[in-house]
Amino acid sequence: MSTAEAIRLEDVYKSFGETQVLRGVSLRVAPHEVVCLIGASGSGKSTLLKCVNLLEPVDAGRILISGQDITSDGVDVNRVRRRIGIVFQAFNLFPHMTVVRNITLGPEKALGTARAAAEAHALELLERFGLSDKANEYPDRLSGGQQQRVAIVRALAMQPEIMLFDEVTSALDPELVAEVLDVIRELAKGGMTMLIATHEMGFARDIADLVCFLDEGVIAESGAPEAIFTEPSHPRTRQFLQRIVDAGRL
């Protein structure tokens, strides 16, 4: 456990049927580090995150969380997932529960926290992210930005060691993107270890300690954001960033 990386991927492979999505990905994320995954749609960013959270089993390779191999046989997946928060592109809030119930479900059922304590913690988190007045609303009464912030709070309520973000602003109207990114920025300031798949290049440049460019299931290039965004060495990275610039998104 001692000085191990928070996350370590060793030569991870993953296919869906005939399609190879991850073709030997290796990655190290130090504690408190923020790593951004960039790359075209279908390059394997989402799949990589889902593998880290064991929502998808890997075909080959290993994934270690704080030194523990979570891809070995006999690992309690529920226990692993409680240590890792994930936020999805489509929010995936539970529509039949109020905001506060969405947040307390995990702590209550998975951690066995008493309802009162879970609720108090949930309200505290909602307060911190400016959502106190939404505690008793149902998700469909909230804007996309608010829903996504609730989804982040829901993951945080489990007090995870690591947070994974899977293109969390891609489903949002442009004017709602900032409020969600601000939440992630605040988490970075607080020292949360994060692995972030994103299309927001400006944001990645801002927040990341390390940027990894995924291309056809491998990390084609990785480095400090300045290096990647100003002088990319790999031709595919250059191509990708050029397209982003042409689209007016950097």
């Binding site: 959270n53 929502l55 529920n78 226990r79 997932r81 409680r82 890792i84 928060g85 994930i86 999805f88 489509a90 995936n92 809030l93 539970f94 529509p95 039949h96 479900l105 995990g106 059922k109 998975a110 951690l111 469909d140 009464r141 829901r154 993951a155 489990m158």
Partner: protein, 295 residues
């Protein structure tokens, strides 16, 4: 018919004089529809009244004397309404067991993993079997077959118990499919979200999937229960004196079919409110979905 209240168009001043009904046809349309309705039903009444045998039909089916006597019973015949209480009892008891058994079958059918293959196979076999066999055959096999086995416990139950058991077995197969459709309709991302919080597969089912699934299948469930309520009459083949059998006893003794009309009427007054309630739930669901889509 009937726009939902929220969808009513704002009446402009030019069309302010028109009433609510006129929106469908226009002012002249109301007159035409009223006239045609009156003429239509007058003609039917005329045909019925003039048809040969119509007085006989009135006497055999609708004679107030017989309607009254069959409804409340005579010294030698049971009261149809009294017997109908048994139908309601059987319906209520069967319904509880069906809701539980069907849910178990639906859940078992969805458990993944090779270890659970035999369980899934049993669930599939069960639904296939009991959806395929006519209810009346199941009634015969259980109601006449089980007592004939001479077993200590299973062969000494009442006909009502056997009848309810047959209803539960057959209807659970249908209702399990309804549940399964509901479970399948909840998007897998909901399960993923629940599992990502560290909930077990069962917890995700129990707290996230089932509450949403069951809410969605309430209208089709009620629909099945309307069918169940009527099919309690089939248990009469085993001998218990429920409404249909009581009506039959009266008809056989008095040579009058008013008792059947009475029994039919009793079933209708129970199923119609159930049907309207189902309609309302469906309507409410659609309204909510539209509102959700607009957001």
């Amino acid at each position: 018919m009937g726009l939902p209240p929220g969808a009513e168009p704002v009446p402009s001043s030019s069309s302010g004089s028109r009433g609510r009904g006129s929106r469908m046809f226009g002012g002249r349309g109301v007159l035409v529809s009223s006239a045609s309705t009156i003429v239509f039903f007058a003609l039917i009444a005329l045909v019925v009244a003039l048809a040969p045998g119509s007085s006989l039909v009135a006497e055999r089916f609708f004679e107030p004397y017989h309607l009254n006597r069959s409804l409340f019973g005579t010294v030698t015949t049971p009261s149809v309404v009294g017997a109908f209480v048994l139908n309601i009892k059987m319906f209520l008891i069967a319904e509880v067991f069906i809701l539980i058994l069907a849910l178990v079958v639906a859940i078992v059918r969805g458990i993944p993993g090779p270890v659970f293959f035999p369980f899934r196979a049993v669930a599939v076999g069960y639904t296939d079997l009991f959806r395929g066999v006519p209810l009346i055959l199941v009634l015969y096999m259980i109601g006449f077959g089980l007592p004939g086995l001479g077993l200590k416990y299973f062969s000494s139950q009442s006909e009502v118990t056997y009848g309810v058991l047959a209803l539960v077995l057959v209807y659970s197969a249908y209702v399990a499919e309804v549940y399964r459709a509901g479970i399948d309709s909840v998007h897998e991302s909901q399960t993923a979200a629940a599992r990502s919080l560290g909930l077990s597969r069962w917890q995700a089912m129990r707290f996230v999937v089932l509450p949403q699934a069951i809410r969605r299948v309430i209208p089709p469930l009620l629909n099945d229960f309307i069918g169940l309520q009527k099919d309690t009459a089939l248990i009469s083949v085993l001998g218990p004196i429920e409404a249909a059998r009581a009506a039959n006893i009266y008809a056989a003794e008095q040579f009058n079919y008013g008792s059947f009309v009475i029994a039919a009427f009793l079933f209708i007054i129970v199923t119609i409110p159930l049907a309207r309630f189902t309609d309302r739930l469906i309507e409410r669901d659609q309204r909510r979905r539209r509102a959700g889509a607009a957001l």
